[in-house]
Amino acid sequence: MEAKLIKKAALGEIVKKIAGQKPVYAPIKEGSKVHFKFLKKGESPFLDYANTVNAPKNLFFPQTETLMHYTKTARGSELVEESETNGEMVLFGVRPCDVRSFKLLDMVFDQKKYSDPYYVDKRERTTIIALACRQPPYSTCFCTSVGGHPAQADGADILISELDDDYLVEFLSPKGEKLVKLFGDLKAADDQALSRKKELSDEAVAAIKSHIPATEIKTWLDNNFEHPFWDSIHQGCLACGTCTYLCPTCHCFDIRDEAQGDDGIRLRAWDSCMYSIYSLETSGHNPRPGQKQRWRQRLMHKFKYFVDNYDAISCVGCGRCVMSCPVNTDIRKIVNDIAQLN
């Protein structure tokens, strides 16, 4: 593993340089909001951001994605053979919590029996450059409660940490090392820089004020599928699905066909367990008929079912759902309330 130092001011230019060679998906500020988007030619990434409105999962698992094309032939509708694309991409400026979300999504999409080629393909040809949090970006951040760390990014190819005047750049994987050249002629990091990183990293952990007993509630969830607690948490919920759309780990989707004349596509689009028609069967039966059941499903999936299946909590503590909920339903409060019941 190589670790190098670059001057703070140089980073934006380096990213622009990378963007000159391959597509770069990075934080961009428009109005007062920051989103992950593809950098346009000559555009600079926005480096002074807390985190983005949308999660970077969009790059690997876009909200709408064409799975296949078909066309009408004399015999009927037939698939159109597709030529494969395989250009390399760079995902720049991912916060450690969001890097963690990729490991969780990999568990779902990159399995032995059924591997999701659309996700895996994009994931494999993308180099992830993470940007450590010197300070927790938001007061709602709780990554350390769910197995994360504000300054460590297991799964990133390159980790950039802000020091005092420099950025410390660590190349963590062969994929990351391939980009070393594009960073220019860098000074190797000395021990002083590495120990400063450690200091700042500890400070960042200490600065996280929001904590939830995420692992502790598992036993309660195991045993309390039916409990009066579930009767009230959903009351204000609008069933809008904003929390699931902005969540870096939510991955439910719908598959639909769309036709125009003789041609058509089969696409997948994000779906949400918060929607009433999500689990509605053709017969009219709905196993989760109300918002109570849907809320329970969302919480159970993150803190119990996913743990049962993959031994990990399906939440990275980014706080997006907390900040964006139109009615201020706060998953931290709910988890804390459950812990009180324990």
Binding site: L79, H251, E281, D308
Partner: protein
């Protein structure tokens, strides 16, 4: 490289059989256009597949044929939603897609050497039919003990596979009971609800397993009968239905607790279901 699990294999609708008087349930016999797709489609009774009609979408349906008839795959489909309605409008020779086989099967290994009691109600007889055909095949019959089957529908016009039922009733290696809630003037068979018939037939629970598939109301009243007969929850199996999309455990909607019906199911024993959440 691994095959893309979302891409359906092209199949031809070889034959369409209208099963019931109301004409809203038909059996579709599909044949693969490509030999390699046919070879890859190795299935067991109880599994399902996604019927794929471009422009309309996909619909998960249990496989009604048995792998012992290797030339084709059959699905018995009720006309209900967008895809199944489009399918019902098809004529023989039409081209469509098939994706699978998906899910688990009836527990064939576990069933070997045991007496088998099959209970089916109404339209939910399709994967049991697959299993019966499989077990009655010369190559497999010796693997299983006594086979008892109870199949009921609301009226004679709604019974599926009537020719086959008649053949099975003739045979002595399966004890086939066909019943209807209410017969008509030509009906000479049993009349009565499935649970009552099960009670009358009273199969022994000794070294026996029962597989039940039918509308929820039938299952609710049939289960106590089998408990009374001494069947343990480990020896009662059923097949669940859920709204599905991807069929491969990714899209999220068909979970019951931490299990996905499309991946870990659709076949579960009651003992397994007891460990899951009651959301189905």
């Amino acid at each position: 490289m691994q095959k893309n699990p979302y891409i359906p294999a092209p199949v031809k609708v070889e034959k369409i059989i209208t099963e019931v008087e109301t004409k809203d349930i038909k059996t579709f016999r599909l044949t693969f256009l490509n030999q390699e797709d046919k070879d890859a489609f190795a299935y067991l009774p109880g599994q399902f597949a996604e019927l794929s009609i471009f422009g309309k979408g996909e619909s998960p349906i249990g496989i009604a044929s048995s792998p012992t008839d290797p030339d084709y795959v059959e699905f018995t489909v009720q006309k209900a939603g967008v895809v199944t309605t489009a399918l019902h409008d098809f004529e023989e020779g039409a081209l469509m897609g098939l994706r699978g086989p998906l899910g688990n099967s009836w527990p064939l290994e576990y069933l070997k050497g045991k007496d088998i009691v099959l209970v089916g109600g109404g339209f939910a007889f399709t994967t049991i039919r697959s299993l019966i055909k499989y077990m009655l095949d010369d190559r497999h019959r010796a693997d299983f003990g006594k086979i008892t089957a109870v199949y009921g529908a609301r009226n004679p016009g709604l019974l599926l596979y009537r020719d086959e039922l008649a053949l099975w009733q003739e045979r002595d290696d399966i004890d086939m009971h066909v019943t209807v809630d209410k017969g008509d003037e030509n009906w000479t068979g049993l009349e009565g609800f499935v649970p009552t018939v099960c009670q009358d037939v009273a199969p022994s629970s000794d070294n026996a397993v029962t597989l039940i598939c039918g509308p929820p109301i039938m299952i609710r009243f049939t289960l106590p009968v089998f408990f009374d007969l001494g069947f343990s929850k480990d020896n009662i199996y059923t097949s669940l239905e859920m709204r599905m999309k991807c069929g491969i455990g990714k899209c999220g909607r068909c979970n019951v607790g931490s299990k996905y019906v499309c991946l870990d199911g659709p076949v579960f024993s009651l003992a397994e279901l007891d460990k899951l959440t009651p959301e189905y």
